[in-house]
Assembly symmetry: D2
Homo-oligomer: 275 residues x 4
Amino acid sequence: MAHLTFNSYGKTRVRLLQVLRDRNRDEVVELSVKILLQGDFDDSYQTGNNSAVLPTDTMKNTVYVIARQKPVESIESFALDLGGHFLKRVRNISNVIVEIKQTPWSHISEHNGAFVQSARERRVTRAQLSRSNISIESGIRYLQILKTRHSAFTGFMKDEYTTLPEARDRLLGTVLAANWTYSDQALDFNRLHKEIRSRLLEVFAAHDSFSVQHTLYAMGEAVLATFNSVREIALTMPNKHCLLADLSRFGLDNPNQVFIPTDEPSGHIEARLTR
Amino acid sequence: MAHLTFNSYGKTRVRLLQVLRDRNRDEVVELSVKILLQGDFDDSYQTGNNSAVLPTDTMKNTVYVIARQKPVESIESFALDLGGHFLKRVRNISNVIVEIKQTPWSHISEHNGAFVQSARERRVTRAQLSRSNISIESGIRYLQILKTRHSAFTGFMKDEYTTLPEARDRLLGTVLAANWTYSDQALDFNRLHKEIRSRLLEVFAAHDSFSVQHTLYAMGEAVLATFNSVREIALTMPNKHCLLADLSRFGLDNPNQVFIPTDEPSGHIEARLTR
Amino acid sequence: MAHLTFNSYGKTRVRLLQVLRDRNRDEVVELSVKILLQGDFDDSYQTGNNSAVLPTDTMKNTVYVIARQKPVESIESFALDLGGHFLKRVRNISNVIVEIKQTPWSHISEHNGAFVQSARERRVTRAQLSRSNISIESGIRYLQILKTRHSAFTGFMKDEYTTLPEARDRLLGTVLAANWTYSDQALDFNRLHKEIRSRLLEVFAAHDSFSVQHTLYAMGEAVLATFNSVREIALTMPNKHCLLADLSRFGLDNPNQVFIPTDEPSGHIEARLTR
Amino acid sequence: MAHLTFNSYGKTRVRLLQVLRDRNRDEVVELSVKILLQGDFDDSYQTGNNSAVLPTDTMKNTVYVIARQKPVESIESFALDLGGHFLKRVRNISNVIVEIKQTPWSHISEHNGAFVQSARERRVTRAQLSRSNISIESGIRYLQILKTRHSAFTGFMKDEYTTLPEARDRLLGTVLAANWTYSDQALDFNRLHKEIRSRLLEVFAAHDSFSVQHTLYAMGEAVLATFNSVREIALTMPNKHCLLADLSRFGLDNPNQVFIPTDEPSGHIEARLTR
C-alpha cells in the first residue's frame, strides 16, 4: 500500500461580488476565493470513507454566508474569518489556507452605484491558519510597469554564446508580483496595501537601475525599511524585453525610440528579502 | 477550377512600443498592429506565382520604419500613414485595412520616464483605404462597467421555459465594446476618444435602465447627439450576469448585497445606431 | 432620435454535456451554444418596453429542454432544432442564428463510460434561419498543422524594406480555421465532417507549396471537387512562423533542424472559394 | 540593509522546434524551456555588480546551440544536458533547474514531413541539478478526462451550510496534472512516459470511485506498484463539475443525461504518494 505524504483539498475560483450599501456611496468588492484544507484525510483516499470530508460545495456556500454575516472590509479580514470558521468546523484538519484575489472597481466620476474596473492588477492575500499559528501574506499581481530612463545592464559575465550587447540606456519593463508577510493580524490592511504599493512604484520609478536584480532589491529593501509591520517580502519581476528595432538596414537611426515588445522568451528574476 | 470570391492577406500582432522623448516628459505609445491587403492576388493562389505578393515580413518592417519617420501622434493618424503607404506601394490592391489596438500607459506620479499600465481596456481603430475612399472607425474594447442601482428588467415575454423572475433592482455589468465611424480624417482623434469615452460612461452611470438594450441605445444616442463628427456607432454589451446568492436556505436574507458573478453563459446585446 | 440600423441579442457560451446512454457504449457530446435573435426589437431599445423580448435566460433553459427531447445526433441537426424552435416561438424575429462549438471526447481504450479529450481542435457549425431560408455553415477551429518538407516561398515582390530571404525549403505551420457551406439540410453531417477534415489534411500534407496562399487554394479546391454537398468554403491560415535559428555566430551550421516558433507577429492568409 | 533569503533568475518560455531528419520519417519536437539559476548572486542585487551574472539572453542562445549539438531524444535527457552545461559554466550557482514542456505532434497518416498537433495535453519534466545531486521529476499537464459511470460521492460530512445531495451515480471530470520522481537518470524516459500515462488512464477508467480522492489514490498507487523506477507521485485532480440540469420545472425527467459543465468554481484535490 502506498503512503500519503501530502494531501490538500478544497474549492477554488469561488466568485463573490458584494455591494456595501451602508455608506455615503455604494462600494463594490469583487473576489475570487480559494479554500484548502490539509490534515488527516487518509481514510477518504484509501478506503473511500467520506465521513470526515466536508464537501467543497459546502465551502462555496459558506463563502456567501460569511460575506452576508460579516461584510468584506478587507480581503485579509475576510480570509481570517473564513479560515477561522473552517478550523473550528472540521476536526480532522491541521491547516486551512484561504487565498483571495480582488478585482479593483472605481466609481464613475461622482455617481453613486456606477463603477469601472480600473486595472488588470489584482490585490491578493493568503492566510494560513493552523491550530497554533496564523500567518498572513498579502501582495500584488499583474502590475505592469515600465522605465524609459535610468536603466542599464553592463559588466555582465560573457561566454562563447553571449551575443547581448552592453546597454547603458535600455527600457526596463516588468509585470510585478509582490508578496509580503505581515507581522500582525490587527492591522489596517487597506491602508497598508495602498502605501506599500505606492512605495514599490516610487522606488521603481526613481531607481538608477544596473539590472532587474538591482532594482528588485531596492524596492524590497525600501518596503522593509518603511513598514515595520512587514516581516519579509518576495518580489518576482520577469524581464519583459523591449528590443530596440534595428533600422540601420533601412538607412535610419533609432536613438532609443522604436522598440519591439515581446512576451516570450522573457527573463525571470525572483528574490525574497528579510531584515 | 474553383473561383476565388474573397481574399485577404497581411500581418497581425505586429507589436510596437514607441517612446516620444521630445516633450516635457517622455510619453509611451504601445500598439499591436494588423495590416491586411485585398485585391487581385488570384495568381498567387492558383499558380503559386508570388511576384505581386509583398511579404508580410516586409509589412512588419514597414511598421517600424514609418513609426521612426512619423512618430505615432494618434492611432488613427498612424493607421492612415500606414494604409496610405501600402496603397501606393502595392499595385494589385484595391483595399488596405489597418487595425490598431493601443495599450494604455500612465506616468507614475511626477516621474519622467516611469509608467504603469493603467487598465485592461484598449483603444482601437480600423482604417480602411481604397483607391477612392477612406473610412475610419475607432472605439473601445474590454471596458468593464457595472451598475449597482437603477437597473431593472421587467415585463418581458414569457413562455413555458421562462423561469427568470422580474427584477426591479438588479445588478447590471458588462464589458463594453464600442465602434464609431468618424465623418472626417482631419480631427483631433485623441481629444475625441477621451470625450466619447466619458460620454458613454456618464450615460451608463446616470441612465434609469429598463434593460441592457435600453441603456445601450441611450449611450449610443447620446454620442450621436453630442459629437457631430461621429456618423454612426455600434455597441456590444454582453450581460455579464451577477446572480443574487440564495441565502434563504441558511436562514438569511440578502437585500441585494451578496452576488455570484459568472462569465458563462452570458447575454449578448448588440446594436448599431445612426442619425 | 437615433436610428437602429442593426440589432441582435441572445445568449452565448451556454454549455451542455450530454451522455448518450442508449447505445453499445456511452457517447459524450460537449457543446458551447450561442443563440442570436434578430428582428424588430426597436421598442425595447427606444422605450424600454420588453414585452417582445424573450429573456436570454429562457434561451439557456431551452437548450437543455431541447437536448432532453431530441438528443444531439450532430451539432448541425441540433442547431436546426434550436433555430426552428425560436423562429416559431418569437414573433418579432426575422432571423435566428445558432452557433455551436463541439469539444471532442474519445473513449479510453475499450472502456464504456470513460473518456479523454482528444484535441484542442473544435468542430463548429452556424445555422441561420429566416422565415424563408435556411443556411448551414460548418467547419473546424484550432487545427494546428505543420509541414517540414515541400514548402517554399520565393519570387515575391521586394521593396526597400524587404529583408526576408527567399526560401526553397522552409517550415510551414498554421492553425487552420475552415468554414464550408452545405447545399442541403438533410445530409449525414457527422460523416461529411470527418471526410472533409481528412481531405483538408491530406492535401495540406501532400501539396508542393509555393506559399500559404497556394496551399490554401489547393485545399479548398479539393474539397469543392470532392464534395458535391459543399457549395463554398472559406479557409483562414495564419502563418505561424518558425524562424531558423542563426547558429553561425557560434560556429555551427543549421540545415533546417533548429527553429524558433513564434506566436506574434504572424501572417494572416484568408480566402473564400466557390465552384 | 536587508537580507536575501532566496534568489533565482533565468529565462522562461524559450521556444524550440527541432526537426529530426535522420530517420525513416521526419520527427518533430516542440518545447518550451525554462532555466533557473540559484546561488550566491547577492552582489548583483545589493551593489549592481553584474560580473557573475550570465545574461538570460545567453541562456536562450545556449538552448539552440545544445539542441544542434545533441538533438532532443527526450525532454528529460535534454534537461540534463542543459542543466549540466550551466552547472559547469557558472561558478556562483549551487542549483540549476530546467523545466521543459512538450507540445505533442503526430504524423498526418503516412506522410513524411506533415504533422497535426494531437492534444492540448503536455508532457513535462523538471530536472534539478546541484553540485552533489540530480533529481528528475516528469509528468503530464492538461489531460482532460471524464467518467460517465462508476462514480459516487456519498456519506460525506454535513453541516448547516451543506446542500449538496448524495450522489450514487454522478459524472466525474478532471484536468489531470501528474508529477512523478524518477529514481534514476539512465532510463528509457519516452517509453516510461507512455506506459505511466496509460496506467493512469486505465485506472481512472476502471475504478469504482467513491470520491475524487479515492480515485486519485488508486491511480497513484497503481503507478507506484507497477513502475519500480518511480519513487513518488503527486497528482492534482480538480473536480470540474458537471451539474445535472434540473428539468423537472419543465415536466421532464433527466436520468443522468443532460449536464451543465462549469469551469468555476471547481473542486481541488491534490495528494502525493510514496511507497
